[in-house]
Symmetry: C2
Subunit: 235 residues, 2 copies
DNA sequence: GCAGAAAGTTAGGCCATACTAACTTATTTT
DNA sequence: AAAATAAGTTAGTATGGCCTAACTTTCTGC
């Protein structure tokens, strides 16, 4: 068995790190990822994915079976989490230490995550008090590669009458983030679903003292930790 | 004349930025740079430089005459200064805001300078009070592209009996930086040359209360703003 | 002013990463 | 289970950035 030789510690290129992150996100850490899905997430042609995936598999980062998608190996998973940690620590640092607006930290972190050393990232984390989540509520992997992988319900799935605390919003679309901030739908806020119109209609909810209505597409981007039903209509 | 089309605002690649920085450093901002010198500074083969230099010239960043070296165009100079500003602001920020050790800020900044946005760099600069020099004493270009290009004397050129203030030390060699720090030869310190042994022999100087001897190779890496001669032996 | 040395360039490769077009395999539908 | 569709791969090409080897130009020393 000489496979171990392939897993040498060459530094990963920026595109390689992006592939691993994408595959991690698609498979929620351990599941398989389809070629087309990777391509779509990275905005590249599916044909390009085949080639890159082969190279990453040769490096021992992916388990790849032709025509059947890929999965991260243990070493691939570690690499993905390392990048994810960098990304999220950088986001948190930009936001907390430099007053960077929350709708733009993601974009900046996308580039910095490939350039920042682990030492820098650790110093950033220490400086802002070892945060556990990034500004959008995404959990920050620890130095040794563990993460909270709890899966939350999205606001779009919450029944009328239910309440919950916003734990996380998706981070990529600046415009959406600005809108959510305007509505004060932010991590930590308590929301209650008042009603849901049928046929993918608007969802009415209360956040703090406000009452507002949002579409299901937006609601799907808001993850919730449900609270006990406050005893209203059910099912 | 359609040459202007070539000068479009495509983002520069990291290697391109490195070439421009090197050419700037060699030509002190405006002079010509020889192929071999660029190659040496970037640790690549001279043949590789020819190719890259052609591409950069096509983009309007360099004035290139085959067999006669290159010079930065105005647009190339601006690009070089933009990168230099990023580099030095990042160094200053790492040092002041994150307690990064001064012998390692250069290395970290070398990668971050290609990834950090102008906005980030401006925020960093603002956060640490718009510094004018980096931790090694190198002047930081302003947002609008001006720099102090004063040329200082090196400690190796200072006559016995002369004094001066250390304004800058070269930043690339961590070991050297640690040694200089140990000797307390740091920007801002006053030094006086006590004596110089002939045939490139050691230079004896006083720094604060200490008296010490260094070789000319090291002394050449320390730039000095001379003070009035304190009236000793001359010539 | 010419020979040899030094400097610089071209030629021909290589690798990573992307692309399109054409083909193959897998899945779904009927 | 055959046909249609979707998903995935291969083939061939491009580009940026690097390499070595071989060639050309420029400079230097007599």
């Amino acid at each position: 068995m000489r496979a171990a030789r392939e897993e040498s510690v060459e530094a990963l290129t920026a595109p390689a790190e992006d592939y691993l992150k994408a595959i991690y996100a698609i498979g929620k850490g351990s599941g398989p990822a389809a070629t087309n899905e990777i391509a779509q997430r990275l905005s590249i042609a599916p044909a390009s994915v085949s080639g890159m995936v082969r190279r990453l598999a040769e490096q021992g980062l992916l388990a790849y079976e032709r025509y059947h998608g890929v999965k991260l190996t243990e070493s691939g998973r570690r690499a993905a989490l390392r990048t994810l940690r960098r990304h999220r620590v950088i986001e948190a640092y930009l936001s907390q230490a430099l007053g960077y607006p929350w709708d733009r930290v993601h974009h900046e972190a996308e580039r910095l995550e490939h350039a920042a050393s682990d030492e820098l990232v650790d110093r950033m984390a220490a400086t802002i008090g070892e945060p556990e989540v990034d500004p959008h509520g995404a959990p920050i992997p620890t130095r040794d590669g563990s993460v909270d992988e709890t899966e939350y319900t999205s606001l779009a799935q919450l029944d009328a009458g239910s309440s919950g605390v916003v734990v996380r919003v998706s981070d990529e679309d600046p415009e959406m983030l600005r809108y959510l901030a305007e509505l004060s739908i932010l991590p930590g806020k308590k929301v209650t679903v008042k009603s849901r119109a049928p046929y993918d209609g608007p969802i009415t909810l209360s956040v703090g003292r406000q009452e507002l209505s949002i579409g299901p597409a937006l609601a799907a981007n808001v993850l919730i930790a449900p609270l006990a039903d406050r005893g209203g209509k059910r099912g």
